[in-house]
Amino acid sequence: MVAFIVRRVVAAVLMLAIVSMATFAIFFLIPRALGQTPEGMASRYVGRDATPEAIQGAVKRLHLDDPLLVQYARFAKGIVAGQDYSLGPRKAECPAPCFGFSFNNNQPVWPTLLDRLPATISLAVGAAVIWLVSGVSIGVISALRRGTVLDRSAMTVALAGVSLPIYFTGLVSLSVFAYTLGIFPGGGTYTAITDDPVMWFQALVLPWITLAFLYAALYARLTRAGMLETMGEDYIRTARAKGLKERTVVTKHALRATLTPILTIFGLDVGLLLGGAVLTESTFSIPGIGKLVIDAIRGNDLPVVLGVTLFAAFFIVLANFIVDVLYAVVDPRVRLS
């Protein structure tokens, strides 16, 4: 098991290094390859009617005229050792891990990410709990009551849930529950849990449900399919033949086997969401990672986009790692290989 974990850790670190190179290439190598000049790239960082001097200044400030390898080395070094940027009369420090410096926000990307992380975690974890519990229960019940009205209506709702985009369900739920009925506060009311736990909770109920609806629908369908398959397994028949109560057969034998592949997907989904739930955060104006990146994309704030991409990749790699380890814990067969 220890060897297994060590192997996975090494793989994860390698993966991150590759992701950082690939990301850097996408943002800097490909534009260059497509004929973008350092000045052209710098012009994204300066206002309109910028004088050639201002653009040249930005080129220098951002070191865009250096060879790409040097730029990557500086970038990689920044992550490990930090670097400084000019802000005008003073230098701005970007301490390690320096994921870049956003000239739109006048601050290093890393603290911004950390600042946005609690909102994203709040949203992702809350929604994950809701969708896992509701999705799996609905899926199990549907599978056990296969073909009944209950099953069919649950699956119809689930189909709708998978098909409806979040900006639709989100805006409709806001319109109904926040502005018409006034049960929940509207968008943009997210408050840090440390500031006001009650407000934090109230403001997140609608986003949680909206986001969870989509995933719950997906998980209900997955669970149902998995459950139907598992219930046909020989070992379920064995469990019944032992004289186990049906409830025990379902919870102890069937569910455990069904949940294992779902756990994998769940881990990856949560990992993905920790890198930012773009649509939900945008719709409800929650200042999380996803909101940060979508705004950065709109505002051409490349350092932030780059930083978030790496950050998100980190979470996915981490989630992958955790899922691998958990899978080994859950399924003894994995440990062998």
């Binding site: 052209g40 012009s43 994204r44 960082y45 300066v46 206002g47 309109r48 009617d49 910028a50 004088t51 001097e53 201002a54 040249q56 200044g57 930005a58 220098k60 400030r61 000019s86 802000l87 005008g88 009369p89 003073r90 701005a92 000239f103 739109n104 926000n105 006048n106 601050q107 911004t112 900006y167 805006l171 806001l174 319109s175 926040a178 502005y179 509207g186 968008g187 943009g188 945008s282 719709t283 409800f284 104006s285 200042p287 909101k291 940060l292 705004d295 709109r298 505002g299 051409n300």
Partner: protein
């Protein structure tokens, strides 16, 4: 002009003749320009467009929190480093430029009054020296007094440094500052020769050439004073030293901006602002549709951008008379138009350009903007809210639906009786502009002109594509669809960048039609040296005529917007200089 809500500031000159002023012909509101700012209609009786002509919900009641939301984020909240129209309006809450606008709806609001200055600038005989005396006893929020050097420093940092790149650079263009490197590289402010401060209360601007609309330039928030010791470069937006009725309580970049009352602001020195709410809160980067819902339900008071509600809310407002009565439909500074490159065949022939002018069904090209609420059909280069604007139409057709017969006549005159092939360049990520291109394509098809739509990214639109004449010629871009809103609503502000042939740049060019007519260039030079406003405005009108005669410029619409005022918002009127509500006057009902 890249930022769609960057402002047309009105540099109308101090002696502006309001008879020629811009607001004539605004739709909906009908008669504007009464200048009656305090009729104080109660909200109950307020009608659609009422805030366009008078103060709705007038009240001097203090207290409460005024809440703004913005779907975007500002380039910067630093008054010296912003190009957003709303921010030139909003930043006055904590920054006082030398001059500002009369707080009134209609034509009156286009007049300038002294703010930090004691009076309008005194111009020297050669027109190259402008002197402002600043009021004594104006303090920052920390209690220290504002000095002339702070104004000088503010302009030095905003116009002459590499770091503050977001605002306009007019002072750098017009001031005679040699090769001054800016205060971040050269700490000695005395090296900045473009501005002199003979004493603590006098600021003297030294110009390269006469510029009769200079009072306009100092109405930009860039002239608001900045103490050198407090400057932290691009980070200064978090800690701006306030001279206005409010000061910054907290500013989390990209998240929120909170203002509280500034006790060191003395209303006796300030004739244009009020200080009604206890605090002002701005949320950035909010979902645009959600902002509208919150606005309609009264949970927030103002959509800070002032660019109007989204499609869904627009439909809701138009359908509900009650909601409609709480909305206004002002012009924005924008003209939405097509330019035909005079250097791309066959548009080098004026008759081919005229054929396009006649062929275009402008009702069809108005639709993508949202119909009459989104814009009035345009026939000139200047917009109705530009001083010097005169209504005329050189290429008339019944109901603006196009005149196929006339178009064919000109095609024949151009030697292309069966039409020709050309390209329409458009910013591919601007849905409305793409739809306009499609409508135009359909119009042209009727007279035999086969146009292909070429889409380019808006990010590099002026740097790499339509703004790069080489690229335009090489790719045969006969027609380019664009928009312009000037930084001040005089003819000069509107036209100089668009039609002055001497401004054609190899890249980043806005005169995409490459019109280079000596008569037009000379008129622009003559106008900016003319101190008599009436005479000057007449010259702008002549320029507009000549531009339209060239047939290279074709306006689709003068853009309009639909903005909403919740009933709990008090003291509301549309400030004509900004095309949105006057943010320094607003109060909230408790």
């Amino acid at each position: 002009m890249r930022k769609t809500n960057a402002l047309a500031l009105a540099a109308l000159g101090t002696a502006l003749t309001m008879g020629l002023a811009a607001c004539g012909g605004t739709a909906g509101g009908g008669n504007t320009g009464t200048g009656n700012q305090s009729t104080g209609a109660a909200s109950a009786g307020a009608k659609h467009n009422d805030a366009y002509t008078k103060v709705v919900n007038a009240s001097d009641a203090k207290g409460g929190t005024l809440k703004f939301a913005l779907s975007d984020e500002p380039d910067s909240m630093d008054p010296g480093n912003t190009y957003y129209a709303w921010n030139w309006n909003f930043s006055r809450l904590y920054a006082r430029p030398l001059m500002t606008y009369v707080p009134a709806p209609g034509d009156e609001g286009l007049k300038l009054v002294p703010d930090l200055a004691e009076g309008p600038g005194e111009v020297s005989d050669d027109g190259k020296t402008w002197t402002y005396k600043i009021k004594k006893g104006i303090k920052y929020d920390d209690g220290t007094e504002v000095k002339a050097a702070d104004v000088k420093y503010a302009i030095a940092r905003s116009n002459f440094t590499d770091e503050l790149t977001d605002g306009p650079k007019y002072f750098a263009e017009y001031l005679d500052a040699g090769d001054y490197k800016g205060p971040y590289k050269d700490k000695n402010l005395d090296d900045f020769k473009g501005i002199e401060t003979p004493d603590d209360y006098t600021v003297v601007f030294k110009l390269k050439a006469p510029f009769s609309e200079f009072d306009f330039l100092v109405a930009n928030p860039q002239s608001a004073p900045v103490p050198q010791a407090k400057d932290t470069g691009i980070d200064y937006e978090k800690t701006v030293a306030s001279t206005g009725p409010y000061k910054i309580e907290s500013h989390e970049v990209g998240k929120h901006f909170h203002l509280v009352k500034n006790e060191n602001w003395d209303p006796a020195t300030d004739t244009t602002r009020k200080q009604l709410p206890d605090r002002i809160e701005v949320q950035f980067k909010q979902n645009a549709e959600d902002i509208d819902q919150r606005l309609l339900s009264g949970q927030i008071h103002v959509d800070l951008a002032g660019t109007g509600v989204q499609t869904a809310a627009r439909a809701k407002i138009v359908a509900d008379p009650k909601l409609k009565d709480s909305s206004d439909n002002p012009f924005t500074p924008f003209n939405r138009y097509a330019m035909m490159s005079v250097n791309v065949k066959p548009f080098d022939n004026i008759d081919c350009r005229k054929a396009v002018q006649y062929a275009t069904d402008k009702v069809a090209t108005q639709t993508p903007w949202g119909g009459p609420l989104g814009g009035e059909i345009g026939t000139t280069a200047m917009t109705p809210t530009t001083v010097g604007y005169k209504q005329f139409d050189l290429y008339p057709s019944t109901d603006h639906k196009g005149d196929v017969a006339k178009a064919k006549e000109h095609l024949t005159a151009c030697g292309q009786p069966n039409g020709f092939e050309t390209n329409i360049a458009v910013r591919g990520d601007r849905t409305k502009e793409v739809q306009v291109a499609e409508a135009l394509q359909a119009s042209l098809d009727k007279v035999g002109i086969k146009a292909t739509i070429k889409k380019y990214p808006s990010g590099d639109w002026s740097a790499q594509y339509a703004g790069k004449p080489d690229f335009v010629h090489k790719n045969n871009l006969g027609i380019m669809i664009a928009g312009w809103g000037s930084d001040w609503p005089s003819g000069f502000g509107f036209l100089s960048q668009l039609v002055d042939g001497r401004f054609i740049k190899p890249s980043g060019n806005y005169n995409m039609m490459e019109l280079n007519d000596k008569a037009i260039n000379d008129l622009l030079d003559k106008g900016i040296q003319t101190t008599d406003a009436a005479e000057r405005n007449e010259i702008w009108s002549q320029v507009d005529q000549k531009v339209m005669e060239s047939a290279a410029f074709m306006s689709f619409v003068y853009e309009k917007t639909l903005i909403f005022r919740p009933s709990n918002l008090t003291n509301v009127y549309v400030h004509p200089a900004y095309g949105m509500y006057d943010y320094t006057w607003l109060g909230v009902q408790q």
